[in-house]
């Protein structure tokens, strides 16, 4: 059964169509990349699935539930987590406090008022282990606003992961990162458990072809191609959109 399903999604902004009739089904455990030129509607599609905006038409399903009318936080609690295209962190809190907010919520203790935060050692340990995995352990006491841009990007992913999602929407996880950071982040995402369903919007074709099981190509708010990386690459329509040339990177499987 497909885990994330969008049916005939449409989104208009005051008469301008950002998304026209997009249907999409992502299997459980699948890694799906969404690509397309700027303004193709990738981020709009993500915001619709995550619940940040409401569709003009169409339905969205998650694990068989219709989540179209559910608010963002309810979707997150069902296990659908997302990162933001622009870093959207708790900039005035420390890196550790950032991640701890995510951990304490999914552990169900965020409403506690009697004991100090530092007294919950399991929460702290979990937060620190997530930071270690994203190589942010050394920065845990810094304010998020003082991190380097690439580190903020990593914290963005850390926050989404710390909610222990079953499906993860990554909106350009490597945007603005240095080449070295991009490789590191790609490896990290690759290393995540195969059971985690992923949808990734990404401009970097290296990242896309090394991560994705399947690729959906959006153009002017419509799906123009969908399939395994090899199929998509061979698709003449896709080639035409990407300046008449096939994507510059040879396939690496996956």
């Amino acid at each position: 059964m497909s885990q994330v399903k969008a049916e005939h999604l449409c989104k208009d902004y005051g008469g301008v169509t950002a998304l026209a009739n997009v249907t999409l089904a992502v299997e459980s455990g699948e890694r799906r990349a969404i690509i397309g030129p700027n303004g193709a509607g990738k981020t709009t599609l993500f915001k619709l699935i995550a619940g940040e905006i409401a569709p003009t038409k169409g339905r969205i399903h998650f694990d068989g539930h219709d989540i179209t009318d559910l608010p963002v936080h309810t979707r997150a609690n069902l296990g659908l987590s997302h990162t933001f295209q622009r870093n959207n962190l708790f900039f005035d809190l420390t890196v550790l406090e950032n991640v701890r907010l995510a951990v304490q919520h999914h552990r169900g203790i965020a409403g506690q008022v009697l004991k100090s935060v530092s007294g919950y050692s399991a929460v702290n340990a979990e937060a620190e282990s997530i930071l270690a995995r994203l190589r942010l352990a050394a920065q845990s006491q810094q304010l998020a606003r003082n991190l380097a841009y690439g580190q903020q990007r990593a914290l963005e992913v850390a926050l989404a992961l710390a909610t222990e999602p079953r499906a993860l929407l990554l909106d350009e996880p490597t945007a603005g990162m240095s080449p070295a950071e991009t490789i590191e982040m790609t490896r990290f995402i690759e290393s995540l458990p195969r059971s985690l369903t992923m949808l990734i919007v990404e401009h970097d074709m290296d990242v896309v072809f090394s991560l994705a099981d399947r690729i959906t190509v959006l153009h002017y708010g419509e799906v123009i191609a969908e399939g395994a990386p090899g199929e998509v690459r061979a698709n003449p329509l896709v080639q035409e959109i990407y300046l008449g040339a096939p994507p510059s990177v040879p396939p690496r499987g996956g």
């Binding site: 963002v72 936080h73 708790f90 809190l93 907010l101």
Partner: protein
């Protein structure tokens, strides 16, 4: 090391507060009682403004309702604080639930205006519904409180005894609020202040958290209003007036938002200001406004921020 100093300072402060009534004239004892009461009031606003980022400009609503509930029950039902204080807290919390239901749908400037408008509505009711509220005279003749269980009872009829009662409530409020802001719930409130959208993305139902903070803040403000009424023995409509909301806001800004020491310092400074200024000029409200504006312009983190900066600059 710094921790040790903090504890030492705290113990000295509490000891000083305990011996204070023996050291000063009754005028300064009254001032201290008011400072403690306004400290509770300002701390309760800080939970909203400093910790949750809710810019309430109608905090007097809860303060004044606490004052009127206390006056009404103490005059008509009982003056036993074991009954009146819970009633006040429940009443103020319920009011916060109602106002919050409307106001928390909005944010930022709208929230400020809506909370202010609700408080002003209560003020106008207090003025015009004189059968119940005593109109612009308010409710006078409120007795000093009694604490009693069964046959045993004690009346706080001296100024000294009432000072200790207020001190006890102040310490309890401080411990409770300190516990709240240090807890996971407090961390969640700071998360909302910093980035509410991200909190929702993490799965937090932020409306509920904000409502909880609003209700807790309202309840403590109600307590402060009740304590003031027992002290002045009078529930006045001015407790609901926007100037009261403004004054507690001034205390908080001058003291320092986002800390619990700040509201206390601010309450002390603002409460003492008229005493010192009035020996030079009658226009102490102008002085108050100027002091406030100077802090807003040049020291938005208040006295606490100035002290911190001074400590950090020291080598």
């Amino acid at each position: 090391m710094a921790r040790h100093w903090k504890w030492a300072a705290l113990i000295v402060a509490i000891l000083a507060a305990i011996v204070y009534p023996y050291a000063v004239r009754s005028y300064f004892l009254s001032l201290a009682i008011e400072v403690l009461i306004y400290s509770i009031f300002a701390m309760s606003l800080d939970l909203l403004l400093g910790y949750t980022g809710l810019t309430s400009f109608g905090h007097a609503a809860f303060f004044g309702l606490g004052a009127y509930i206390l006056a009404y029950t103490a005059l008509g039902l009982t003056d036993n604080i074991l009954v009146t204080v819970p009633l006040v807290i429940i009443g103020a919390a319920l009011l916060a639930l109602i106002i919050g239901f409307f106001a928390l749908r909005t944010s930022g400037i709208y929230f400020l205006m809506v909370t202010m408008a609700f408080a002003q509505m209560l003020f106008s009711i207090a003025i015009s519904w004189s059968d119940v509220t005593g109109g612009s005279d308010g409710l006078a003749g409120v007795p000093r409180p009694v604490i009693g269980v069964g046959a045993w009872a004690y009346t706080f009829d001296s100024r000294e005894s009432y000072y200790y009662l207020v001190l006890a409530f102040f310490l309890l409020s401080w411990i409770a609020l300190r516990s709240i802001v240090g807890s996971p719930f407090g961390a969640a409130l700071r998360g909302i202040r910093d980035n509410e959208q991200r909190m929702r993305a993490l799965g937090y139902n932020t409306f509920r958290y904000k409502m909880a903070a609003f209700v807790i803040g309202g309840a403590f403000a109600g307590l402060a209003g009740a304590l003031l009424t027992h002290f002045t023995q009078h529930a006045a409509p001015e407790t609901l007036y926007w100037a009261t909301s403004g004054q507690v806001m001034i205390m908080l800004i001058v003291g320092g938002v986002g800390t619990l020491v700040g509201p206390m310092l601010g309450a002390a400074v603002i409460r003492l200001l008229p005493t010192f200024v009035s020996s030079y000029t009658e226009r102490w409200e102008i002085v108050l406004g100027l002091v406030f504006i100077l802090f807003v312009l040049f020291a938005p983190r208040g006295i606490v921020g100035l002290l911190r900066r001074a400590v950090e600059k020291r080598p």
